[in-house]
């Protein structure tokens, strides 16, 4: 199949055009932001519409969009089951944790703040802060990789230039409005992902003779490509990915920031709707992987992009109209932009609440917001350096997901079990990684994740029971809210925010 020739300028035009559009929205949103409290938590005024729209977009990572096609191409429909079902469930599963924390800690901002107040331990807080910052940086890297991949396959653009253009664009518009900008731009992103993805996939299906023809060709390939419950897929990546995904929402400040930013009456609906209505996006785009199978695309055809490149490859090699190819690229770019600006926003909340405010509790509002916004620029620079270097960041991100999975039990128990102690929390993380990581590095994928979770659960329960302490969850209500304004406080404090 010959690739449709597309000018590189179209690629750069899409990257910059979307950025200018988002910047225009950010400029309109700017009046919302009067102080650091508004910047990091949107005044706790985000409603159901922006809540659902932004949760869907923030969870739709660019690589996730392309990985659904890749898993379908590699494993058939069982790849879709194991990739997609836990993905949506991970968002829905945050609801009980969110309700519990918002109930006991209504003035909270970050999950690190919860750990600090809950355990009063510098070690536990530092471990959680390190995990959050590293996780968010990796979220930025992996989404940048998605942009590089799609623009490389479709437009053959230079990696370094793409990275710089993307990072500068997103950093600039994220700088202006914090969480409000992130929520509103992400909501627009959701529209620009869902409808164009449906149109592109339907056109592709029509172009290759209809879904029935593709189905028959995939079936004719034999094997278990149309068996949704293939055990081989479950053991190869399904189970470990499912656990990693559950940890990804629970241990991700991007989600916790939204938990504390929503109007409280909408908390459950936001995450349930967000999780359930996220499903159709990877389901739709996964069909491109099955089309790839039916067309006989080989791994050699995909070259260095690997299976992740199957979606862009199919779209750019079928001779479909340029406008639809551009729409597909826009779907990926929207997924990337929304996830990165969500990560920037979450990172800025950690910097404000858990670093700057802790180091200098009486810092002036003007300086606090300067540090908070500055952290977005620094994260952008770190992203540019890391992704421009020769680091194998896909392996790095897989490693981070594995490590984040160790947080599932200690964090869940810290939220729900009053007897969980700081020592139990830290020891379970350290020992879980100490046992699970070597197993992973020696190729025991399934065993390593089972060991990681098993050890962390046993240690957090065992150590906490031995210590015999109990935590009063009402303390959370008293000790949080570092950036809350005192009602009736003079507006002078707001001036620095502009």
């Amino acid at each position: 199949m010959a690739a449709t020739h597309l000018s590189g300028w179209l690629g750069y035009g899409l990257l910059l055009g979307l950025g200018v559009f988002m910047l225009a929205i950010a400029a309109a949103v700017r009046p919302f932001v009067r102080n650091t409290h508004d910047f990091v938590i949107a005044g706790r005024r985000i409603g159901l519409g922006f809540g659902v729209g932004s949760v869907i977009a923030v969870w739709t990572w660019s690589m996730a969009v392309m990985m659904s096609s890749a898993q379908a191409y590699t494993w058939g429909t069982s790849g879709l089951v194991w990739f997609i079902v836990p993905n949506g469930l991970a968002v829905v599963a945050i609801v009980p944790f969110a309700l519990k924390l918002r109930k006991h800690m209504p003035k909270g901002y970050t999950i690190v703040e919860f750990i600090r107040v809950r355990f009063q331990s510098r070690t536990a807080t530092a471990v959680m802060l390190g995990a959050m910052v590293f996780g968010l940086l990796c979220e930025i890297f992996i989404n940048l990789f998605g942009v590089v991949l799609v623009t490389g396959v479709v437009f053959d653009l230079n990696t370094t230039v793409v990275l710089l253009v993307t990072l500068v664009t997103i950093t600039v518009y994220s700088y202006f409005g914090g969480l409000w900008t992130s929520a509103i731009t992400a909501t627009v992103n959701t529209l620009l992902i869902t409808v164009p993805a449906a149109l592109v996939v339907l056109y592709v299906l029509a172009k290759v003779g209809g879904a029935g023809a593709v189905f028959d060709k995939v079936g004719a390939k034999g094997g278990s490509l149309l068996n949704p419950f293939s055990a081989q897929t479950a053991s190869a990546f399904g189970i470990s990915l499912a656990l990693g995904l559950l940890a990804s929402t629970m241990a991700d400040q991007t989600f916790w920031q939204k938990v504390w930013a929503m109007r409280p009456g909408n908390l459950r609906r936001t995450f349930v709707w967000g999780g359930l209505w996220f499903y159709p996006i990877p389901l739709t785009l996964g069909l491109l992987g099955l089309v790839g199978i039916s067309l006989g695309v080989t791994p050699d055809d995909l070259g260095s992009a690997g299976a992740g490149g199957i979606g862009p490859y199919v779209v750019s090699h079928l001779g479909i109209p340029v406008v639809l190819i551009a729409l597909y690229v826009l779907v990926i770019l929207n997924a990337c932009y929304s996830s990165i600006d969500g990560a920037f926003s979450a990172l800025s909340s950690l910097v404000a609440v858990d670093i700057v405010k802790q180091a200098r509790p009486h810092i002036a509002e003007k300086r606090l917001i300067a540090f908070t916004k500055g952290s977005i620029v620094i994260a952008g620079l770190v992203g540019a350096v890391v992704v421009s270097s020769n680091v194998d960041y896909v392996s790095l991100v897989n490693l981070v997901f594995f490590i984040k999975a160790v947080l599932i039990f200690p964090l869940a128990l810290a939220i729900f079990w009053s007897r969980t102690t700081a020592r139990g929390f830290v020891a379970s993380i350290v020992l879980g990684i100490a046992v699970g990581l070597p197993l992973r590095q020696t190729g025991h994928d399934l065993l390593s994740i089972v060991a990681l979770e098993g050890v962390s659960l046993a240690v957090v329960v065992g150590v906490s029971l031995l210590e015999g302490k109990r935590f009063d969850f009402d303390a959370l209500r008293r000790d949080a809210g570092a950036l809350e304004q005192v009602p009736g406080a003079p507006d002078a404090v707001l001036e620095g925010a502009r």
């Binding site: 005024r45 159901l48 149109l199 009456g265 389901l283």
Partner: protein
């Protein structure tokens, strides 16, 4: 190609409603005075009821869709339609915001527990 044109029309309509309602909600959020939110423990306990049924239903529905996709190609057309459904869900969410904003404070306190 019929499915493509149906989704093109549906998507355009849903997209127009989506952007209009998003803009209206943006203006309302910008201009509205902050209201005191009901953050009582009971408000959160109430939201937690029946949650596991909803989560379970999500898993069952998404898995069922993938089983159908593995049974016959005709079901593949459901997935892009559901993609437009995701945008429609956000439209419904904006409508819920609008209806909440237009309710009187007492109705809101009695209903969603958002203001008091």
């Amino acid at each position: 190609m019929v499915a493509f044109y149906i989704v093109l029309v549906l998507g355009t309509l849903v997209g127009a409603a989506y952007l209009t309602l998003a803009f209206q909600e943006f203006k309302r959020s910008r201009d509205a005075q902050p209201v005191v939110q009901d953050e009582s423990p009971e408000a959160f306990d109430q939201q937690g009821r029946g949650f596991s049924w909803v989560a379970g239903a999500g898993v069952v529905v998404s898995t069922t869709l993938l089983v159908l996709v593995s049974v016959d190609g005709v079901f593949w057309y459901l997935l892009p339609l559901l993609g437009v459904g995701s945008a429609l869900a956000v439209v419904v969410a904006f409508l819920a915001d609008r209806s909440e904003a237009s309710a009187s404070p007492s109705e809101r306190a009695a209903g969603s527990g958002v203001a008091r």
